[in-house]
């Protein structure tokens, strides 16, 4: 099918074209009050075609795979390419000399009967409800996803990726009295069904929720701040676009002239690590067919260079880094190198500080190009080197670039988020906290 589409495109006058096709199968189940609340099954194949016409590259994405539609889409691609005025490198890749091998046994989640999956959710829900502080479980969710990706182009490239995973979580509603209401959840990602342990999942959720009860706001002021591993991963994830070669080319990052300079505290090492052993998704090649590679983006605080796709690499006269994902440049398993301090040791010298365990509204409270962030947060007060009491309804604010130069300590508890970013807990000298 793909070869025929390539032939058709070439016959229409497209110089080179590439087909990126994703077949996605998924099953989603949710349980509410011991009953199946949602059951969604899907099968979708979506196709992206990139093509070069008169040295201009244009993209079409579609799900109607009929011959008529494919032909119309190719015509549209040509029309769109004609209207581009910009002169930029347009590249369809012949392939990297070699690709890293990924050895993973893919589990077939379909081999587990649906009833077992529902029972897993029911057990998680029941276990959470056994906690006296839980008023209800808002939802208990399971989803399994299987994707098969093919990358085929007119230069002879023919690559494929296959992924299969599942995740589950429950949102517990914790309540003490009339007005002290908190929610908590913990996403458990699994490569095989037996990775799910309902008792453990419930316990983690309960521990998180109970720790939040009795939370109050604190006095406005400047405090030493520790982000737990998940929250610092989230911060690194939202700010990762500042390392994009596309952002550099478009003047959308203040780092444009900083390659080779020390921009962060010397304790900071940030690594693109597509095949990291703990990563959920190991990536042998990117969406343009470039082999992925391990690369320091920040080495001892020094910015070593931008993440590039084929186009920006050519513009900056360097090699592509295997970071073309989606329609732009993205990190491929991005790791903040852990330190040696355990969590207790990390906070032991803090007299009066705040541990951040929740950040809400990262899509709105962050300005990546200026580095500014101002975010609704919750967590724990730290007093005399120990966790003192829960804190909620505060705003933590600062500047990412400044913060990365005021790192007091980096923990050892490295954890990967679903986003593919991994971080340990990090102790920042001080940030502004808005409270009462």
């Amino acid at each position: 099918m793909y070869t025929n589409w390539i032939k058709l495109g070439l016959s229409k006058g497209i110089t080179d074209l590439e087909i990126y096709a994703v077949k996605n199968r998924s099953l989603k189940l949710s349980v509410y009050q011991n009953k199946l609340d949602q059951h969604v099954q899907s099968n979708v194949e979506s196709v992206t075609i990139r093509g070069i016409y008169q040295n201009k590259l244009s993209t079409v994405r579609f799900e109607n795979l009929s011959d008529t539609n494919v032909s119309q889409m190719l015509d549209q691609l040509i029309e769109n390419a004609k209207a581009l005025t910009v002169v930029e490198p347009a590249i369809i890749y012949e392939g990297s000399p070699s690709y890293p091998e990924v050895h993973e046994d893919l589990f077939d989640f379909q081999s587990v009967p649906v009833i077992e999956k529902i029972n897993l959710l029911k057990t998680v829900e029941q276990n959470i409800l056994s906690c006296p502080d839980v008023s209800q479980v808002q939802t208990t969710m399971y989803q399994e996803v299987e994707t098969k990706t093919a990358l085929v182009n007119s230069k002879g490239l023919n690559l494929s990726r296959h992924q299969s995973y599942a995740y589950a979580y429950a949102i517990g509603v914790f309540k003490r009295g009339e007005s002290d209401i908190q929610t908590a959840y913990d996403i458990k990602l699994a490569k095989k069904f037996s990775d799910f342990n309902p008792v453990e999942m419930a316990k983690t959720t309960i521990d998180l929720g109970v720790a939040k009860l009795g939370g109050k706001t604190i006095k406005t002021g400047s405090y030493p701040v520790v982000f737990n591993n998940e929250m610092f991963s989230d911060m690194l994830n939202v700010f990762s676009s500042i390392f994009s070669g596309e952002a550099a080319f478009r003047n959308m990052t203040p780092l444009k002239t900083k390659v080779g300079e020390k921009i962060f505290d010397a304790k900071i090492n940030l690594i693109n690590d597509p095949l990291h052993q703990d990563a959920f998704f190991k990536l042998p090649f990117d969406d343009e067919g470039v082999a992925c590679q391990r690369r320091h983006v920040i080495k001892d605080g020094v910015f070593t260079g931008f993440n590039h796709n084929l186009k920006t690499a050519k513009i900056f006269n360097t090699a592509p880094t295997g970071n073309s994902f989606g329609s732009g440049i993205q990190i491929a398993n991005f790791v903040l190198e852990p330190g040696t301090k355990g969590f207790d040791e990390l906070i032991k010298d803090i007299e009066d500080g705040v541990l951040i365990t929740d950040l809400v509204g990262l899509h709105a409270g962050v300005k990546t190009i200026s580095g500014e962030f101002s975010l609704q947060a919750a967590g724990q007060k730290i007093e005399h080197g120990k966790i003192a009491y829960p804190v909620k309804m505060i705003v933590v604010s600062g500047n990412f670039f400044e913060m990365m130069n005021h790192i007091v300590g980096i923990g050892s508890d490295l954890k990967f988020n679903l986003s593919g970013v991994a971080s340990p807990a990090v102790h920042i000298e001080s940030l502004m906290i808005g409270g009462e």
């Binding site: 899907s42 799900e63 769109n80 209207a83 910009v86 101002s374 609704q376 705003v395 604010s397 906290i433």
Partner: protein, 461 residues
């Protein structure tokens, strides 16, 4: 798309094991994104979302399936798989009715406008921003066009098609001085075609975006504090959207996860607050002729003079709540089962004048432009960002401030609204929730909240 006879056959098959309701939603969505950066057309991407979603309900239990293979055989297989979940007494599907006419008053659909004309309009906007000041380092103008054709058929006899046309222009200016960067943007959109350029003054907006981007370079960091906040009209309505809109959706109410559960007829805000969600405002970004369950959209009164009057309810939650649906069943695409969502949600105009509200405020924050926000309905805690703000001192706007974040609690913020102006306007955004990302309007006249927690990075010693 499948014909009526095929749909009828599939729906009948869907009820063959015990489901009492079935629905088929077919979609063909064409979209185009044209982007201009610093005067050059850098990309034009075409997108096509195409497929069908099938939903079966028994009582309040639901199963959903979707695929982009919309052949009769493929959907028959989906129906077979889904119906295996149910057993029980058999119900009969009603005969599919006749589609009602929908509004499709589009003057210039996306594919009727030459690409060169689109490009020229956008280049002009980009150039206005870029030439405003040498400190503007990137001026982006983006044209987003969408034409979504849908057909929904269900066992209650609903057979309804609709064509929704959306056009939006996003303008963004990034500025730089002494290694420090800022950015500002505007993104007005309408339920219309390319004639949006005859309706809105984009050139003035482009100029405003550039001015805002430069202003932010010299703005001071907001000093965190608890203070009165004046929220300007249009996108200021994000406060109601987050603090009350989401918690009034049946998705939250039916599970008891909202501060507004059981409060119908009770006072939930100050007397000067009246609010609506309207699914049928002509030309509005959040409008639909028919919702994604085939029901005619309507104007829903939510709060009247501070008293809670209604919720936003979809078909399935109507069964759970034993109330009528409100034409609020929406979904991003066939990849989502529909649920209760907002359309154009707004606080109705009051009697105060904008200038008087500022004059009457001794000390506070004027939030001129608002960004996105979040709410957790179960706790009622919400937040939203201020994109452009000014301090109010002795009744006058003084210094620009940046990086302010406002937080609060849904159950008490409406009581703290002590001024409502007469200058109602809408702002446009994409709202993300259970059934995906959908176009919505937020709206309000300028209002004042007597006290809010304001966060920011300023005032550090």
């Amino acid at each position: 798309m499948l014909n009526k006879k095929e749909l009828q056959a599939l729906l009948e098959k869907a009820l063959s094991t015990g489901a009492d309701f079935a629905e088929i939603f077919q979609e063909d969505n064409q979209s185009s994104v044209l982007r201009v950066m610093n005067g050059e057309v850098t990309s034009i991407d075409r997108g096509n979302v195409f497929g069908a979603g099938v939903r079966l309900i028994q009582g309040i239990d639901e199963v959903y399936g979707f695929t982009n293979d919309v052949s009769f055989e493929s959907l028959q297989q989906v129906v077979t798989n889904l119906s295996a979940s149910f057993s029980g007494p058999l119900f009969k599907a009603k005969k599919l009715g006749t589609a009602k006419p929908y509004v499709d008053a589009i003057k210039r659909p996306m594919d009727s406008v030459p690409m060169a004309e689109k490009a020229a309009k956008l280049q002009e906007l980009s150039n206005i921003m870029k030439s405003h000041d040498p400190r503007i380092v990137q001026a982006m103008a983006q044209l987003i066009e969408n034409r979504q054709t849908i057909l929904v058929a269900n066992t209650e006899g609903i057979y309804q098609d609709d064509v929704r046309t959306y056009t939006r222009v996003i303008m963004m200016a990034a500025s730089m001085e002494n290694g420090q960067m800022q950015q500002a943007y505007e993104g007005p959109g309408r339920y219309m075609g390319f004639e949006i350029f005859d309706e809105l003054d984009f050139k003035s907006l482009a100029k405003e975006v550039a001015i805002s981007s430069i202003t932010l370079l010299t703005a001071e960091d907001m000093v965190p504090q608890v203070m009165p906040v004046v929220l300007h009209n249009a996108f200021g309505g994000v406060i109601f959207h987050e603090a009350c809109g989401h918690p009034l959706e049946a998705t939250a109410v039916a599970k008891g996860l909202s501060p507004f559960v059981g409060k119908l007829g009770e006072k939930v805000g100050s007397d000067i607050v009246t609010a609506y969600d309207d699914g049928d405002v002509e030309g509005a970004w959040g409008r639909l002729s028919f919702d994604d369950e085939g029901m005619k959209t309507q104007k829903n009164l939510l709060i009247e003079n501070g008293v809670l009057k209604g919720y936003l309810i979809d078909y399935r939650n109507a069964r759970k709540m034993k109330m009528d649906p409100t034409g609020s069943g929406r979904r991003q695409s066939y990849k989502f089962s529909p649920t209760s969502r907002m359309n154009s949600t707004y606080i109705a105009p009051g009697k105060d004048k904008f200038e008087d509200i500022i004059k009457d405020t001794k000390y506070g924050l004027f939030a001129k432009k608002l960004g996105g926000g979040t709410v957790v309905p179960a706790t009622g805690e919400f937040n939203f960002a201020v994109m452009e703000g000014y301090m109010i001192e002795d009744g006058k706007l003084t210094r620009p401030v940046r990086g302010a974040m406002l937080i609060g609690h849904g159950k008490d913020v409406l009581f703290k609204i002590d001024k409502v102006a007469d200058n109602l306007e809408f702002g446009q955004g994409m709202c993300g929730s259970l059934s995906g990302s959908i176009p919505v309007d937020v709206g309000q006249p300028t209002i004042r909240v007597s006290s809010m927690t304001v966060g920011g990075a300023g005032g550090k010693k």
